[in-house]
Assembly symmetry: C2
Homo-oligomer: 362 residues x 2
Amino acid sequence: MNSTHRSPHTVRLSLLPAAALTVALVITAPAIGADSPAGPLVLKAQGSFFVGGETEHTSATTGTPGGFFFPNTDDIKVNQMYVQFQIPEADAHHIPVVMLHGCCLSGKTWETTPDGRMGWGEYFVRRRHAVYIPDQSSRARSGFDATIINEVRLGTKPSSALPNIFTFGRSAAWELFRFGPSFPTAFSDEQFPVEAMDEFGKQVIPDLNATLPTPNPTFANLAALAVRLHGAVLMGHSESGFFPEQAALTDPAGVAGLVSIEGGCSTNLTPQQIATLAKIPTLVIFGDHLGDVPSVSALWLGALQGCQQFVDQINAAGGDATMLHLPDAGLFGNSHMLMQDKNNLQVADLVLRWIDQHVERE
Amino acid sequence: MNSTHRSPHTVRLSLLPAAALTVALVITAPAIGADSPAGPLVLKAQGSFFVGGETEHTSATTGTPGGFFFPNTDDIKVNQMYVQFQIPEADAHHIPVVMLHGCCLSGKTWETTPDGRMGWGEYFVRRRHAVYIPDQSSRARSGFDATIINEVRLGTKPSSALPNIFTFGRSAAWELFRFGPSFPTAFSDEQFPVEAMDEFGKQVIPDLNATLPTPNPTFANLAALAVRLHGAVLMGHSESGFFPEQAALTDPAGVAGLVSIEGGCSTNLTPQQIATLAKIPTLVIFGDHLGDVPSVSALWLGALQGCQQFVDQINAAGGDATMLHLPDAGLFGNSHMLMQDKNNLQVADLVLRWIDQHVERE
């Protein structure tokens, strides 16, 4: 970072009262020199590692490894979770944020948007948070356990044992993600960059969660990641919307905040589970047009209602849970993929402000 | 970047003759302030995008998408290639480098090593090259076409139609990758961080290349990426060792250099194909102990011999091909995963110097 840019910011820090400071940092930060999304990105560190993973023994009848030069009797790793991270040079004291993708997607969700704009991953780094982006266990760079597929190929298991591999087609995504009432018609105020639908389709990859044991190892892996970071905000989306809460119920030790975006919330938690979650600040986010796509309106309105009930339960237990329905905050036209919408950095600013006020309590 | 670090370097640039400059930049660069692997990383830009990809129509009998809320009749994207990139703030005039992983691995190959050291991806950025790291088509964040698996599950295809999914177990990798004569015995001068074998095992993920059409779409995707970059060095490893050459044979327009690491070389190319490749500087790299693991010595000595024949063919046609067998350059104990070996940055320096001298011709 250039020192001629750092000085004015340091002055602001010392001159402004706390409330104004929050606004200066979060809302007007783009004007502060090297922190601008347009300036160079200065990193203290970056890299990748794995969390979790168990050793699985394979044999000639289980058929994994798939046979290249060697017999199949060997040990492979399964259920591990790949994590990419970046730590800003100017991280100050801000808390790390873990961003987990949803169904049929990967860590790509948080990177460059389909139309080429900055994603939340880099934006949060520029806003002085270390950012950790996993691929769910059994997805993308985390790999998956192909044993069952090889067993069926070898004839030692019936084809009915194959997992149900999810993915989304173009028309399905258009409706379920609320880009418009039906493909290719978009809502007039649609914020998703529908002109880049072809590029978005390339992000959609097979979801092999059906190959995982129960409970999903990603829960424990997220919890272990938070412990490793000595405290982190866990963020989930869609399929993984409630994964942060599941991680906290596995081990709350490292979980400093929960952000659940456009997913379903559990409404039958025990009083003990509610008490555990009530100790952790929680933010639930939904976009717009929840009731406006006929084929999925019951799904989305039900998710909103269930999450409102969850938020109320947490608050009734003395917790600090916030429902952020974006139209209520003056943001309209947001899709299910709100971290990629045209106003994605505006939405990010709301999350950053919530972290400041509810997790970091500045 | 801190201007107190930039100045001395600018002085060097203007005072040193070209030959000395190459040495100063490539070999002694770690001493140059902000360029040191230990200093902050200053990026002009970073992000990710896709190259290639076709639309595939699915139906109730093909069974992809796997069915979440919608019928299966839809359009999905297949054969696309995910690419992550970083461009250094101080990129000067250096050429972009594309780093492609091998079998049962992903772009993770080039990131943090299993024992936590800097990988080639960041190191080349710090050495002023823009770096592009793909996941092969059908691997990791590029996704794969799960249609055939769903068809077998639905009973519309026999189980024999399932792809042979490759992976490597711990013992197989130990021998094939030449960590030592047999698991868990390492060579006395072994450079691979065998103490991190457990972490390396987590990088090994299922290889679904058997689901791809012929020719492998990664060839054309690499060629298209090189065109998009207006010139790039293509680097491949192991399974993908000869993919750079395959890409150049698909379309040589953007291919400025070829680096083939520890893979097999084609020795039955046509004179026309040889002539095409002879226009592009080529570097072939092999590590140590090629003949020292009994179960794979024929494989590795054969690969070395085939690649030497390829190098000779290119040079006989007037080309500029170099065989770099690391022991001949004074580096001993290197494994198949030489980009992760303990002396990985020393090996990288040899590649960077070769790029300077043969591609950039400084």
